[in-house]
């Protein structure tokens, strides 16, 4: 006991070594805690079953001009609108300077399929579903905070910052579309 306490006494006044041990232990502890917390947060992310719903095909043959269809893709509603000739004309006639998020009508659709407007149906403001064929611009009106979209789904008035989002999609044939 006596020898032990005397060696301890000799070691004690070595502040550099103590500080090092203190900081090292603290750092290891912090990394350990962070490592343990991460999985607890990460489990909140979308799980494998949600992520699995990557793409889906839809048949458009039954959708007449002037009609729309709402489909579900990755749990999200998607509008598929068969636009009328006047709607396309109206959308094309809008000067880009009138737009909050400038995009031409051509950028909103696929070449050769201008009549089909395919957009994620959630308002870019806070995610409500806008109502079709309404609002001052003949396109969509969001009932939640009054955003108005034109016949190309572009934001024209109200709090939404951007145009309705286009999902990735391609036409497999004239009446078959694959979203995702």
């Amino acid at each position: 006991m006596a020898t032990q306490s005397s060696t301890a006494h000799q070691d004690a006044p070595n502040p550099g070594r103590r500080d090092f041990l203190y900081v090292a232990a603290g750092a290891v502890g912090a990394v350990g805690v962070a490592g343990a917390v991460w999985p607890l947060i990460n489990q909140l992310n979308p799980d494998a079953s949600v992520l699995a719903l990557a793409s889906a095909e839809f048949d458009l043959s039954a959708v007449e001009e002037g009609q729309s269809l709402t489909v579900k893709w990755r749990g999200m509603p998607v509008f598929i609108r068969h636009r009328t000739a006047t709607e396309i004309e109206e959308a094309k006639a809008v000067p880009l300077s009138d737009l909050k998020d400038p995009q031409t009508d051509a950028q909103r659709v696929k070449e050769g399929h201008e009549q089909w407007l395919i957009m994620i149906a959630t308002c870019t403001h806070l995610g409500c579903i806008p109502v079709g064929e309404s609002g001052e611009f003949g396109g969509w009106f969001c009932p939640c905070h009054g955003s108005q979209f034109d016949t190309a789904g572009r934001i024209r008035k109200g709090p939404a910052p951007t145009n309705l989002v286009l999902p990735p999609y391609e036409f497999i044939s004239d009446t078959q579309v694959k979203i995702g």
Partner: protein, 430 residues
């Protein structure tokens, strides 16, 4: 005050034995019974006690509801109907919880406005005030998540809109949104985690309430004249004076509460919430619960871009700012005088603030494309939002410097005696 002498002497050997080991009786006696309280507190000071009771009511009814509720998108809506129709007494218990949330908020708003008028947030009560604002934020989170649980149309779209608020944050917004929802939209994962958190948060609130009361018992209560306690002549023991006053107020408060529960349990809610959640259709007119309306109006008011900040982020900044600003209030109000009673100009701005807040609530409930008093809802909301922020950022900082307050009474007891002398026109016995 905290440092007063304890008058507790253990009455018997068992109490003595306990007192040497865990002085819990001594603690309760000091803080719940003998605690010296200003003798001039009016009924505005009873809302703290009412709030404590409401928290217990929510926790007790909530735990009971959780015994019958199923947190799953396929079952939640029906399980609520099951509670209301099949569970013995479930109709009343569910109504108490749902109406209770509204009564809780009614009380907390009165409690907060009491603080705003009487300057209760000023030194040395800043921490007390900040803890209060924290409780308010936690209450809002709890009530929001609770409102999602019935899985009706309003539940669903409230969840959709409110979680989307986080997406406005630059860069990290989208990942946070996925993390909150656990999917690309609000779905089963969201409902489940909201139930888990809705169960947890009230207990966190209870813990913060304990800190809130601790922070109250260090400096002691503020009071209607805002003059600090100077001697024991200014105070009375909490029990029986204020236990009885609080109890009376609680009973009065329970009368409208009971009326709602028994005669109009749904009047504060929205009929759309009796339609099961449908992720493909947003109700034509979505509105939050009444207690969120003023803040909702502020969120909606920002429909224009501010420099490089787009309207969505702008709305979120103002919405968040309208609550965060309360944390800084103790340092924004520069007046040395606490109570609004002695601030002739402040009074006008204060009452205008109250009217403005009620107006914001009204605007929050109005359809986005309608108009109120000849002004469009959008413009009116901008005006009211502007006053909300001006009150805190310009009026309170300047008024403290510009206004000449009325002279303050010497002490609480002097003010009380003068008042009773004036009231009964009898001479005050000094």
């Amino acid at each position: 005050m905290a440092s007063h002498e304890s008058s507790y002497t253990p009455g018997n050997p068992v109490e003595k034995w306990l007192d040497d080991r865990l002085p819990i009786i001594r603690f309760s006696k000091e803080h719940l019974m003998d605690y010296p309280t200003p003798k001039n507190l009016n009924y505005w000071w009873t809302f703290g006690g009412i709030l404590a009771v409401m928290l217990v009511v929510q926790i007790v009814t909530g735990i009971v509801l959780a015994m019958h509720y199923a947190p799953n998108v396929a079952l939640a809506f029906d399980s609520l109907e099951h509670i209301r129709r099949d569970v013995s007494g479930g109709r009343i218990i569910q109504a108490v919880h749902a109406v209770g949330a509204s009564m809780f908020f009614a009380a907390v708003y009165l409690h907060i406005f009491r603080g705003l008028y009487f300057g209760s947030y000023k030194a040395p009560r800043e921490i007390l005030w900040i803890l209060g604002v924290l409780i308010f934020v936690l209450m809002m989170a709890t009530a929001f998540m609770g409102y999602v649980l019935p899985w009706g149309q309003m539940s669903y779209w409230a969840a959709q809109v409110i979680t989307n608020i986080f997406a406005a944050i630059p860069i990290v917004g989208e990942p946070i949104l996925l993390l909150l929802r656990g999917g690309f939209t609000v779905d089963n994962a969201t409902l489940n985690r909201f139930f888990s958190l809705h169960y947890l948060l009230p207990f966190v609130i209870a813990a913060v309430v304990a800190l809130h009361i601790w922070a109250l018992h260090v400096p002691g209560n503020n009071n209607p004249i805002g003059v600090e306690v100077k001697s024991s002549r200014d105070t009375v023991p909490f029990h029986p004076y204020y236990t009885m006053k609080d109890l009376f107020a609680i009973i009065v408060f329970f009368i409208p509460f009971a009326w709602f529960v028994f005669f109009a349990p749904d009047i504060l809610g929205h009929s759309d919430n009796y339609i099961q959640a449908n992720s493909l259709v947003t109700p034509a007119h979505i509105v939050p619960e009444w207690y969120f309306l003023p803040f909702y109006a502020i969120l909606r008011a920002i429909d224009f871009n501010i420099l490089f900040i787009d309207s969505k982020l702008g709305g979120v900044i103002f919405f968040g700012g309208s609550i965060l600003i309360l944390f800084f209030l103790p340092w924004l109000d520069t007046s040395k005088v606490r109570s609004g009673t002695f601030r002739p100009i402040f009074k006008w701005f204060f009452w205008l603030f109250v009217v403005n807040f009620v107006m914001l609530a009204y605007l929050g409930a109005s359809a986005a494309d309608s108009s109120v008093l000849g002004l469009s809802v959008a413009d009116f909301s901008k005006l009211c939002t502007a006053y909300y922020f001006l009150y805190f950022l310009v009026i309170l900082p300047l008024l403290g410097r510009l206004e000449t307050p009325r002279s303050l009474p010497e002490s609480i007891s002097e003010a009380v005696l003068k008042k009773s002398a004036g009231g009964s026109s009898a001479a005050a016995a000094h």
